[in-house]
Symmetry: C2
């Protein structure tokens, strides 16, 4: 195993030196191979689906696992999108001269070997790998055992595409052995893996953070709040609430808690209840909310800490903007926080005082996504501030080296 990973590491220099054209040719080839191998991938996926059935996997898990011709087409579409993205590698980001006379440049380079750890979705083996390739980084894909046949079928496509382009097949390496022990070993190999990106439930991510010697991009959960200021446009607030809570409740940028300024609570909360009930959303509320709305459940501290990922929401009435910020300090996940207000000063105060990767004014939390924020695509999201904060696109898969050019200068 270590030998295979060392081969990936050895491929890093060639990957870093690929031109944008060479990288795009590979991605185009992969697009083609996915087309010619659709049947084989679907057959492999069928095995995973049958195993999943006999293991009684949850319906949501089975849905994530399932591949169809449309879903393979959608993988191809993501390849086409990534081909169109600007290649960040080689960019000179700074260029200046200092008193000693030396010229200093900073140049964007790849990070190196990325280990992607994920659960059931086989499309990660196409999409995450394409982003790594486009940014010059070899990738190790370690998916869950439930998707192993699908993943290996996609790995085979990468092999074919890499060979066709005369490239080292180690640049995309899919781990066949999904034993936890193998993962544990890899997490200690900081001599040949540069960054670990886990995608999945909080348990998986905490396990990786607690057991890795390699830097890890962390994103435990998305517990996002919508705060309705006393100077908010009601209709806008209701629209953002429904879009944030209902449009896709199972994702990390969905809303979990609504905070409402006491000055508007009596007038606004009945409208909230009406709109939420029409969408079958279950409401849990603080005491003050309970005094205004009938028939809702009480919200506990635990509820305010829970990422429901479901048609359920907490409501809390706050005395002030600062109390809303304090609540977010205590219960937020540093992911995405939204204020609705027409008051610019309140908006600024929220922006500056809320400690989250994405802070929004009068926009839906559902925009907190690499694609929607103009990054083109996203490899993951970081809720810790080291290396990257928030949705990570191609640039987050790079770093910068110093280049110094002199004419014989020495340091005195």
């Amino acid at each position: 195993m270590k030998n295979n990973i060392l081969k990936v590491k050895k491929s890093a220099k060639a990957a870093a030196l690929l031109s944008n054209d060479e990288k795009n040719s590979l991605l185009k080839e992969m697009h083609h191979v996915l087309g010619t191998h659709t049947e084989k991938i679907l057959e492999a996926n069928q095995k995973d689906m049958e195993n999943g059935k006999s293991k009684h996997l949850k319906a949501s898990m089975m849905d994530r696992l399932l591949l169809t011709p449309e879903r393979i087409k959608s993988m191809q579409d993501s390849l086409s999108q990534i081909i169109e993205l600007h290649d960040p590698i080689g960019e000179i980001t700074e260029d200046y001269r200092v008193d000693s006379g030396i010229q200093i440049q900073k140049k964007r380079i790849p990070i190196g070997v990325i280990l992607m750890i994920y659960e059931a979705r086989p499309n990660v083996a196409v999409e995450a790998a394409s982003l790594c390739i486009k940014s010059g980084n070899p990738i190790i894909l370690r998916g869950g055992s439930d998707a192993i046949h699908s993943n290996m079928a996609i790995a085979n496509c990468w092999d074919i595409a890499l060979q066709k382009c005369n490239l080292n097949t180690s640049m995309v390496y899919v781990v066949e052995n999904t034993d936890r022990k193998v993962l544990d070993d890899m997490l200690l190999w900081d001599d040949c893996i540069d960054l670990v990106i886990p995608r999945g439930g909080e348990g998986l991510i905490r396990y990786v953070v607690n057991n890795s010697r390699i830097p890890v991009i962390q994103h435990y959960k998305g517990l996002c709040h919508l705060y309705i200021d006393d100077e908010a446009n009601f209709e806008m607030g209701l629209n953002l609430l429904i879009n944030g809570k209902v449009s896709r409740p199972g994702v990390c940028n969905a809303l979990e808690t609504l905070l409402v300024h006491k000055g508007i609570a009596k007038e606004f909360l009945p409208l909230v209840q009406q709109r939420l009930l029409a969408k079958q959303v279950i409401i849990k509320g603080c005491n003050k909310t309970g005094a205004i709305l009938k028939g809702i459940q009480p919200a506990s501290e635990d509820d305010f800490s829970t990422e429901y990922l479901d048609l359920m929401i907490n409501i809390k009435v706050v005395n002030s903007l600062d109390e809303a910020i304090l609540h977010i300090d205590n219960f937020g996940s540093h992911h995405t926080e939204v204020i609705v207000t027409e008051n610019l000063q309140n908006a600024e105060r929220f922006i500056n005082n809320v400690d989250a990767a994405v802070v929004m004014v009068n926009a839906s939390s559902r925009f907190s996504d690499g694609g929607e924020l103009g990054l083109g695509a996203e490899i993951g999201i970081s809720t810790s501030k080291v290396h990257s904060y928030g949705p990570m696109g191609l640039k987050a898969l790079t770093t910068e080296k110093f280049i110094v050019k002199g004419t014989g200068q020495v340091r005195s």
Copy 2:
């Protein structure tokens, strides 16, 4: 202990919101307090020096530990320099609009709580802390037990300066208990510490990396090479060699190995020997070097892997630029690598193919330092590519958050 660290974490928001003027006022106050407390600091340092003597610390360690009025003056000077630096916090680094109509900005913010782990030098308690303050980050200083009296005396100065400025004294926290167990605990508290920066020997840094759940800035060693191309200016090569090896052999940007193209070895190496011997530098060489130079020691694989930090150097004759790059791949430390050449293509090939944080053409490796590279000052150096690569100035102590401004847009 955990309570104290939680207090530091709680001070992070106020630290992040300080204006440049407020931060500079604090640094000016600290400058003043260091002046009025010079005697007290020197008395405390005297205790450390006496303990050091009775523990028979090495002379080099005792020198690092020693404080004098001049060294305290030099701490004050570093405060003055940091006051002059541009405050990176609050800068809008990107600002664009996407098709959905929302406006997206990226804004520079502090990282949060920095844990600085270091060994004997008490000046770190002033200089690292000032850089963290200037970039809006609270700092925990955990120095070695040998310097504990000096560190606590400086901690007292920070307390006085922070109080004078009506700031939370937890923004600079010096750990009094230097037991390893306390350090081990802190390295697991990723709920209240955001980044760990260890400074010291490779053993300390590996220990921190292996035991930390918090992201760590790594810099194991500086094993820097100087490669003399067959199209090099000899006099320039000799000057860079002597400056790189002799001007301060005990630092990480000093040279450890000289690589010489075979085409010029016979002519160049005797000049090298003459200049090195005049500076009492011991030479170890490969077989080809031994065939040209008399009276030198043979260099083993171990030698090529050793950071001497002393007046000793390895010499290897290589067949080509690519063999020089390969040698650096095998033995380099991703710190600083230098080529001397008049051939632009060779320079470009070296720049693009050498995997180091700082790659230089015709300049001394001794310039690989935050101050010399125009960063103003340096908190440390990273030889891993995550978050930052190379010398780290104020900007490396920051990250960027997304700010989204809309007019009620929802995601379709």
